[in-house]
């Protein structure tokens, strides 16, 4: 447990005064991924938000690099990339502007040219200059995923990253996640589909 980058000890979450799942513990070393599973309403999203530091934990502790996450919030958040249900994209801005702004918010310098490269890798080269409101749901998700392409964060927390993607995009995202893990990153994600990222992946089922 000591060499783990991200470790959770007896973590529990509450929603509306009711505890959501049995307390869980896990430790993730560099290059490991965790697939959170559970029925609808089991608390996967709440757990991810709690790991990110958005929602307070009802019990337990989360440590990043051996330090309590909220003790040094800005250092933890510099290492963190969180992608939730809401994508945090602006309908009025173009795809490029969204990617550049998303990077700036994560304290990362990204030129429009680099943003275009990231969007091209998501197959959105021809859509890069369009305002986001004319893109489809799946394309919007790809714009959000373009953030992963250029991110330098070590810890990725992804909530249902495979939703609304077509087959090609699912494969591309899997490759992206595998590359992140291979480079020594840590990944926690939720998904209802079976996902395989090699033997570095653990699964955890949340139970009420």
């Amino acid at each position: 447990m000591n060499s783990a980058l991200l470790s959770a000890k007896e973590v529990g979450c509450e929603r509306g005064g009711r505890s959501l799942f049995q307390p869980i513990s896990f430790g993730l070393q560099p290059g490991q991924a965790l697939h959170l599973q559970g029925d609808n309403g089991a608390g996967k999203t709440t757990l991810l938000r709690a790991l990110a530091g958005l929602t307070p934990l009802a019990m337990g502790e989360v440590h990043w690099r051996g330090q309590a996450c909220l003790e040094n919030r800005s250092a933890f958040h510099a290492d963190l990339l969180f992608l939730g249900h809401a994508l945090g994209l602006k309908d009025e801005l173009t795809a490029i502007e969204n990617v550049v702004l998303g990077a700036a918010m994560a304290a990362q310098q990204l030129s429009p040219a680099q943003a275009l490269t990231a969007l091209s890798a998501q197959g959105l080269r021809s859509r890069a200059h369009l305002p986001l409101r004319v893109l489809s749901q799946g394309q919007k998700r790809r714009v959000a995923l373009a953030r992963l392409q250029s991110a330098s964060a070590r810890l990725w927390l992804l909530d249902e990253p495979f939703v609304a993607l077509d087959n090609d995009a699912v494969l591309a995202l899997q490759a992206l996640l595998q590359a992140h893990v291979a480079q020594g990153g840590v990944l926690v994600f939720t998904s209802h589909q079976p996902v395989s990222l090699g033997k570095q992946m653990q699964s955890l089922r949340l139970q009420a």
């Binding site: 990110a52 958005l54 510099a78 809401a86 994508l87 945090g88 009025e92 918010m105």
Partner: protein
């Protein structure tokens, strides 16, 4: 500091791509200020008396009209979550949002006020004091309003709640803002009122981003 400018530019760019939202507040101010002389009648002495008050109330309501939109869109599309999870200090981001709000809903009022003040037969001295008080007072409205907007985030019917929460806090600004022009008109000089407005502005600038970021953390739990 860089992210502050980036965020202000982002909000300005967003506003210019949906102009109706910005223009509605400014237009509201113009219409309110134009309706009073029409309703009350063309008596110069009377208009001069009520002018500063009407313009100030109009500015106050116009600034408040834009408050629900300050954070609501960012809350709904998840951009606020990204701000909370940013390595940048949250108070700096909140300050950027507040600055953008003032540039979009406060500064236009300061610029328009002298034109609208002409309808009320205000002298050029009174107009310049009115402008000065608006310049000092409207940032206070944005600062205090932003705290209200952050506290009512995600609450159904939040718009009404903001007005209930924030309007009483606007009263000192209104009293000393309109009072400055009255004081000048009655020959007392506006300096005391302007000093008090400045004294309201400084703590508002200092504490509001901090209070706003604390309220945001609670709202997004």
């Amino acid at each position: 500091m860089n992210i502050f400018a980036t965020l202000v530019m982002r909000d300005l760019r967003l506003a210019f791509r949906r102009k109706s939202e910005v223009l509605s507040g400014v237009f509201f101010f113009v219409v309110v200020a134009a309706l009073f002389p029409l309703a009350i009648g063309p008596e110069p002495a009377m208009l001069r008396q009520i002018g500063p008050g009407v313009l100030w109330v109009g500015a106050l309501l116009a600034s408040m009209l834009a408050l629900p939109r300050l954070l609501e869109a960012d809350y709904r599309d998840g951009a606020l979550e990204n701000m909370l999870l940013s390595p940048h200090p949250l108070w700096l981001l909140a300050a950027g949002k507040i600055a953008a709000h003032w540039l979009l809903s406060g500064l236009p009022l300061v610029i328009l006020a002298p034109v609208l003040g002409l309808q009320f037969n205000l002298s050029s001295d009174a107009l310049s004091v009115l402008c000065l008080t608006l310049l000092l007072g409207t940032p206070v409205l944005s600062c205090v309003g932003a705290i209200g907007a952050a506290l009512t985030l995600g609450v159904r019917g939040g718009g009404v709640l903001i007005s209930l929460l924030v309007l009483p806090l606007y009263v000192p600004v209104l009293v000393f803002g309109a009072g400055a022009v009255h004081a000048l008109q009655s020959g007392l000089g506006a300096q005391a009122h302007v000093s008090i407005l400045l004294a309201l502005l400084l703590p508002a600038l200092f504490f509001s981003p901090w209070a706003c970021s604390a309220a945001l953390r609670i709202a997004l739990e």
